[in-house]
């Protein structure tokens, strides 16, 4: 059973993941979004490492390493390259403006606490009590997907959802099997690579990466 400073570390890491999600909602500069993702990835990796150390679980340790490499370094790095190719790009006009987004995020966090209460009641232990943070990250990530226009913001939203799911998995199941984590990480990596290619092509062809202007492409 986890306790003491290890628990403090886990709580801090989980808090950082959710804070990162809300930060992503607040910042309009796309460059800072990539830093936020890197921060989240490192926090997730740290969380997994702490869990691995306290449980003596080697597989989970490897997962922590994989998370650090993919979510902490490679994916944010790739995204940063996309952003750098289009300097000065900002999320200028989100569909819902920033103050309203923050209020909505507060609502989503409350909702996730209400819902996750039922999950926690199944097995009240210090880790499951943190589950609302993961759920809130998922919801905020989804919110970013719905309200932000730029292709990069979209992928950031998707990654936030993924990070939230990963956080939930670490907290509720005490770590996912190595194979599953590898699979999802590679999937997400692939998505980011595809996006990079797509964004480059879109810019070359249309001169922008604003998804709302693709509307004419529908049937």
């Amino acid at each position: 059973m986890i306790s003491g400073s290890a628990l403090d570390g886990v709580e801090l890491a989980a808090g950082v993941v959710l804070a990162g999600a809300i930060l992503a909602l607040w910042r309009k500069d796309l460059r800072s979004l990539t830093s936020v993702l890197a921060l989240q990835g490192i926090a997730l990796a740290a969380l997994a490492a702490i869990l691995a150390a306290t449980g003596g679980d080697v597989g989970l340790g490897v997962v922590a390493g994989v998370v650090l490499v993919t979510k902490g370094l490679v994916i944010p790095g790739l995204l940063a390259r996309v952003v750098r190719a289009d300097p000065g790009s900002r999320e200028t006009a989100p569909l819902v403006n920033v103050p309203a987004s923050l209020v909505a995020a507060a609502g989503l966090v409350i909702l996730s606490y209400l819902v996750a209460g039922q999950l926690t009641a199944l097995m009240p232990d210090p880790l499951t009590r943190l589950a609302p943070l993961g759920l809130a990250t998922v919801l905020v990530g989804f919110f970013v997907l719905v309200t932000r226009r730029k292709a990069v913001s979209q992928i950031v939203g998707l990654l936030l959802v993924d990070n939230g799911v990963a956080l939930l998995a670490f907290l509720l199941t005490a770590g996912v099997p190595l194979l599953v984590e590898l699979g999802t990480s590679l999937d997400v990596l692939l998505v980011v690579v595809v996006l990079q290619v797509l964004a480059t092509t879109m810019r070359a062809r249309f001169g922008h990466v604003d998804l709302d202007q693709l509307r004419e492409l529908h049937d």
Partner: protein, 670 residues
């Protein structure tokens, strides 16, 4: 039962052969196998009809959970035998019909598959088996109907109508039967029938109304008939013949099986409703048939008409049985079933004939036909037998069954219920008026379509069809003549089937013989004598004309065009057309038909008093379709257009739907 099962298996094999063999052997192989299948099934069904023994079969193998229950009783066997007869003819006919252009694998495979499902439905003895067979029948008939869709886009439209109607109907039947099985404590028909008396009246009425909706739409009762005049013309002719000669019958079978057998007769108002549907259908179908100029559309409406007559008989029988008149009920039901069998024979024959004409000329439009009697004499003679049968002329089978039906209805006036009396009266009136209208329709089809001079180049170049098609038509024509001259041979079998149609059975009133002899009602008719008298009269008249001394100038024949009233230089444009033939009737029944007419007169530029061209346009749409269906279809497509505005191509909107759904679910959970 063994012969029946072998037959069903052979029909399945025929479908496989039709799908698998190379193009050259596909059609003959499938046709030979399905003809063999029909013969085997016919043997099995006739055995059941002759002996009256019911045999059943249960196997847990084929369907999971419920297994398959099959049972052959006289009622089911009658429908199976009818289908097998039409199927046998259709198998022969299909060889010649498909010979000009090799039909696709689907087309060759679907005819035997459709036939197999048609033979399966009346033998199903549990709700699950029945619904599976029923839906397979809907599916295979839809595919068989669609075989020409590449060449004719109208086929797709027809298929959409048919699919929609048949699925709404099947859903209603499923609902009704599941409700029934739930309350009767089991899903086999035997279990349900043993609970007959213990169901509450509202429940059994609900079940009856639900199943009636489905079965009436299959039987083509107005106002659920709209698929018939679309699907029957567009299907290939062997398929039309099976649809019209066998599939619509199964709607009647379903009403009898559920209403008469499983629910045991029930309330008298059920049967009054059926008779009312029958009266409306008979009248509406007959009027439209008289007004149609498309051969197959005419035949489809005439199917609506004849099914209406059968429904009148069934409704009257049910009402009489509910009033305690079991003897008369048995007679009327027997007459209705007899008419159903006869209709299968002559309607199959007429659809084959129309198909042969279409095969030879490429058109179904009566206004473009004519002069076929000289070019296709055998087809004309066979079509003529069908037309005379459906027109209920003595000596042919249509007369025998309509006479019986009329006798039964007229004797039913002795019943004690005013509602029943009114129903019978309406039935008699419908029988009378449709008799006249049907005669008009088929005088038109035969006279305009086959006699006179050809009205188009295609009709001029028509050639007699091959022996296999003539054989298919000849088989059914033979059936029409045999049942017409000696109707007595079919009566014992029909009597057993009618007894199985209503729980408890009905005592027979018929003296078995060659003719029809209603012992207890002092009515008898011997069509064989009529035919002999007729033939003798013809011989005498011929002899008198040949032998009588005549004046010299009359003895020298003067040749003129047939039907030209002695005029020389008769041209096709001087002949009456199908449209003009039907015109007076259309005026009389303008309120029912609501024809859409347009007369356009073009004047020359120089003077408004000089006419350059006159074009006349007329079209008769189905008024029921226009009033009852178009608004519903309009509302559905309006809803569809509205829904199309929701997905506007914005990724954010799609994501927002998902997000909103997720949040909504979480809120509900919280």
């Amino acid at each position: 039962m063994t012969a029946y099962l072998i037959g069903i298996g052979t029909a399945g094999l025929a479908a496989l052969v039709g799908a698998a063999l190379p193009a050259r052997h596909r059609l003959p192989g499938a046709a030979a196998l399905s003809a063999a299948a029909c013969l085997a099934v016919l043997v099995g069904a006739v055995h059941v009809l002759a002996s009256g023994h019911t045999s059943g079969l249960h196997t847990a193998q084929v369907l999971p959970l419920t297994g398959v229950d099959l049972s052959l009783d006289p009622l089911g066997a009658l429908f199976i035998a009818t289908t097998a007869g039409v199927g046998l003819a259709a198998s022969w006919y299909s060889v010649g019909y498909g010979a000009h252009a090799t039909p696709s694998r689907t087309a060759t495979a679907m005819l035997p598959a459709f036939l197999a499902t048609l033979l399966l439905v009346p033998a199903a003895a549990s709700v699950a088996t029945f619904m599976v067979a029923w839906e397979l029948m809907a599916l295979t008939s839809l595919l068989a109907l669609l075989t020409d869709h590449r060449r004719r886009p109208e086929t797709r439209d027809a298929a959409q109508w048919y699919a929609a109607m048949t699925h709404i109907g099947a859903a209603a039947i499923l609902l009704g039967l599941v409700l029934l099985a739930d309350h009767a404590g089991g899903q086999t028909f035997a279990t349900i029938a043993s609970h007959r008396g213990r169901l509450s009246v509202p429940l059994s009425s609900t079940v009856f109304v639900l199943t009636l909706f489905g079965f009436a739409s299959k039987a083509g009762a107005v106002p659920l008939h709209v698929w018939l005049p679309r699907a029957h013309p567009e299907a290939p002719s062997p398929v039309s013949a099976l649809m019209s000669g066998a599939m619509v019958n199964l709607g009647v079978y379903g009403i009898l099986r559920v209403g008469g057998d499983l629910l045991g007769g029930g309330q008298s108002w059920w049967w009054v409703v059926i008779a009312a549907l029958g009266v409306v259908s008979a009248f509406f179908g007959a009027v439209h048939a008289a007004a149609s100029t498309d051969t197959k559309r005419l035949l489809a409406y005439s199917t609506v008409d004849n099914m209406g007559l059968v429904l009148i008989g069934i409704g009257a029988a049910g009402a009489l049985a509910a009033g305690g008149e079991r003897m008369l009920a048995g007679l009327v039901l027997l007459a209705a079933l007899f008419h159903l069998v006869n209709h299968a024979l002559f309607k199959g024959l007429l659809f084959f004939g129309a198909g042969a004409v279409q095969h030879a000329t490429g058109t179904r439009d009566l206004d473009r036909l004519g002069g076929l009697a000289r070019r296709m004499p055998a087809t004309t003679a066979l079509f003529g037998i069908g037309a005379l049968s459906i027109g209920a002329l003595p000596g042919l089978n249509g007369f025998a069954s309509e006479w019986l039906l009329l006798e039964g209805l007229l004797h039913g006036f002795a019943s004690r219920s005013a509602v029943t009396d009114a129903t019978l009266l309406a039935g008699v009136a419908a029988l009378a008026i449709t008799g006249g209208l049907t005669a008009t329709a088929f005088v038109k089809a035969l006279g305009v379509g086959f006699l006179g001079q050809p009205r188009s180049e295609r009709a001029r170049g028509a050639r007699e069809v091959g022996p296999s098609m003539l054989a298919g038509m000849g088989l059914l024509a033979g059936g029409c003549v045999v049942l017409g001259v000696v109707p007595g041979v079919a009566l014992p079998a029909l009597d057993r089937a009618a007894a199985a149609g209503f729980a408890g059975g009905a005592p027979t009133t018929l003296r078995v013989g060659l003719g029809l002899d209603l012992a207890s009602l002092h009515g008898a008719i011997e069509p064989a004598l009529l035919v002999e008298g007729l033939l003798a009269g013809i011989v005498v008249a011929w002899g008198v004309i040949r032998l009588a001394p005549r004046r010299a100038e009359l003895r020298r024949p003067r040749r003129a065009e047939a039907w030209g009233c002695g005029r020389e230089l008769q041209t096709a444009r001087m002949e009456i057309t199908a449209t003009s033939f039907a015109e007076p009737l259309q005026r009389v029944f303008a309120d029912v038909l609501r024809p859409d007419r347009d007369l356009e007169v073009t004047h020359t530029v120089e003077s408004a008093y000089v006419t350059q061209a006159v074009s006349y346009y007329q079209r008769v749409d189905d008024a029921v379709e226009r009033v009852a269906y178009r608004p519903v279809i309009g509302a559905v497509s309006w809803w569809g257009r509205l829904a199309r505005r929701v997905p506007n191509g914005s990724v954010h909107r799609y994501l927002a739907f998902g997000f909103a759904a997720l949040v909504l679910i979480l809120v509900v959970l919280a």
